[in-house]
């Protein structure tokens, strides 16, 4: 048996490798969530993942695929609805987020033959990561990272000033759609890890932490990956040693590094200005 097999047969290593893969894509995408103020949008997509799981059981398709399809449909619906300005975007998102979550829970209750671990879905079950999950994560990572590299300038320009970007010929609408599809993909692959209620945390907290130390957008994306790695590794060892749930432990570690960076940085700048 090769060393790779040995590693992949161990649930802890699978969890670590999977977690690092998610952090790799959550970092740069999380930056866009922060820059474009899409935190609530991410939440809405994540909550809809539960509906996606119900749908997967209903049509007996793989969970990741069901979640991906549901979030893609919801992302498109949001894009269409947001053109109609009758409802403020956050109201619309609030309606859809919680309705999707509730419909998912109700739909699952109609399927008593389906035995699922609801806590695992809501808060993640990192340690139950399978080889198949790893395939999804790293497949998703390849797709998302290549798209981001390819479209980086246009995405950045349309984030900075949408109209200026449009005048300069950036296909703003198409990029927005692609970004939403990437969010849908990251949620489909990250759901297992931290659960539908905590996915947004994994996108936002490392990016926000990185902001304190970065002076270019690229630095911020790279640092967000680093803080994501720290959160995953730290959270997993916390879970291992203290027997805490893995998903929440990852988020707690991310939050701790956020506090340390902001606390340390403000003390540093206070000393400098003193």
């Amino acid at each position: 048996m090769s060393i790779i097999d040995t590693v992949l047969n161990d649930f802890f290593w699978r969890a670590l490798i999977g977690g690092l893969g998610v952090a790799l894509i959550a970092g740069p995408l999380g930056c866009f969530v922060v820059w474009r103020r899409m935190a609530y949008f991410g939440d809405t997509l994540a909550h809809s993942a539960l509906l996606g799981i119900a749908i997967s059981f209903l049509f007996s398709i793989p969970l990741n695929l069901g979640v991906l399809i549901t979030s893609v449909i919801l992302a498109m619906a949001l894009l269409l609805f947001s053109r109609n300005k009758t409802l403020a975007t956050d109201t619309l998102l609030g309606i859809l987020a919680h309705s999707a979550l509730a419909i998912g829970l109700v739909a699952l209750s109609f399927m008593p033959e389906v035995r699922i671990d609801l806590t695992g879905l809501l808060f993640g079950d990192l340690l139950a990561m399978t080889r198949n999950d790893l395939l999804w994560i790293y497949g998703g990572a390849v797709v998302i990272l290549s798209l981001l590299t390819l479209l980086w300038r246009g995405l950045l320009m349309s984030t900075i000033h949408e109209e200026l970007a449009r005048v300069e010929g950036v296909p703003v609408e198409r990029l927005r759609l692609l970004l939403m599809l990437m969010f849908a993909l990251v949620i489909a692959v990250a759901m297992k890890m931290v659960g539908v209620l905590l996915i947004t945390a994994l996108l936002i907290i490392p990016a926000a932490t990185a902001r304190r130390l970065a002076s270019t957008p690229e630095q911020m994306a790279a640092l967000a990956v680093v803080f994501g790695f720290i959160a995953v590794a730290g959270g997993l060892s916390m879970s291992w040693h203290l027997d805490t749930p893995a998903g929440p432990s990852v988020v707690v570690t991310a939050f701790a590094s956020f506090l340390i960076v902001y606390g340390g940085a403000s003390r540093f700048s206070a000393r400098r200005s003193a």
């Binding site: 820059w35 270019t216 911020m220």
Partner: protein, 262 residues
């Protein structure tokens, strides 16, 4: 006469059946500076967005010259504080080489701020950055939305001077929205007073006597402007209305208005 950079014919933009821009026609040639003035909600920004091609027209036509490069100076650069961005990086996002970016910044007088974060700029510096960002693309047409907003009085005059100089250097057309009537009157070839429709247009010296202008902006404004331009190229009829004796025609086309030939 060279070919128009942009020619708009009977352009109408409606929001929810309410015409925001109503049957506007205008043509802009190389070297022209056209300023759009008008009260709030007059459709000025909508009109230039239609010219820029980022606002769909409900009816009417917009013709743009082939391969027209537009430099757009938006009202603000309201950058999220979460997005770290230096001036250099912002300029490089235009896709132009660094040397071109630096010389554009030199031209607008803020090249010393190359490494500064965009968030730390004052209102005037921000406008100069946006202007440099437009310049770097070597535009045929410069479109500015209230370029002097947030700029102090001295800076405003300098900014309008700069825009005129750039027009000469690039031999481009300029179309801008402005509220700074006095400064604009001196800096522009042609003023279009917009209130959904074109309520009047013509040479700045003439327009301040136009009854439609007086109606829109009030007599005090019109008179204060008239003081700046002692032109007597028209007479008044018995009720005090302007009887135009020159080329300025408020109702129809305005070709040729931008030249002094009285």
């Amino acid at each position: 006469m060279n070919e128009a950079l942009v020619a708009i014919d009977n352009l109408t933009v409606r929001f929810d059946d309410r015409p925001v821009v109503d049957r506007v026609s205008l043509a802009l040639h190389r070297g022209d500076i056209i300023t759009i003035i008008g009260p709030n909600g007059a459709g000025k920004t909508t009109l230039i967005k239609a010219i820029l091609g980022i606002q769909a027209a409900t009816s009417g036509q917009i013709m743009r010259a082939k391969d027209l490069v537009i430099g757009y100076v938006p009202q603000h650069l309201s950058l999220e504080s979460t997005l770290p961005l230096s001036i250099q990086r912002f300029m490089l996002l235009s896709g132009q080489p660094l040397a071109t970016c630096v010389s554009a910044l030199e031209r607008t007088g803020i090249s010393h701020l190359l490494q500064a974060p965009v968030h730390h700029l004052s209102g005037g510096e921000q406008q100069r950055l946006l202007l440099a960002r437009a310049l770097v693309r070597k535009p045929d047409l410069l479109v500015l939305d209230e370029p002097a907003q947030g700029v102090d009085i001295n800076g405003q005059a300098a900014l309008y001077d700069l825009i005129r100089e750039l027009r000469d250097e690039l031999n481009c057309g300029v179309i801008m929205i402005s509220h700074d009537l006095h400064l604009v009157m001196a800096a522009t070839d042609k003023v279009i007073c917009l209130n959904q429709h074109v309520c009047c247009s013509g040479h700045p010296a003439d327009i301040s006597h136009d009854p439609a202008f007086i109606e829109t902006f009030g007599l005090p404004v019109a008179e204060s402007l008239a003081v700046y331009h002692h032109h007597h190229n028209h007479s008044h009829d018995l009720s005090g209305n302007v009887v135009s004796t020159d080329h300025s025609d408020p109702a129809t086309g305005h070709e040729g208005c931008q030249h002094e030939h009285h």
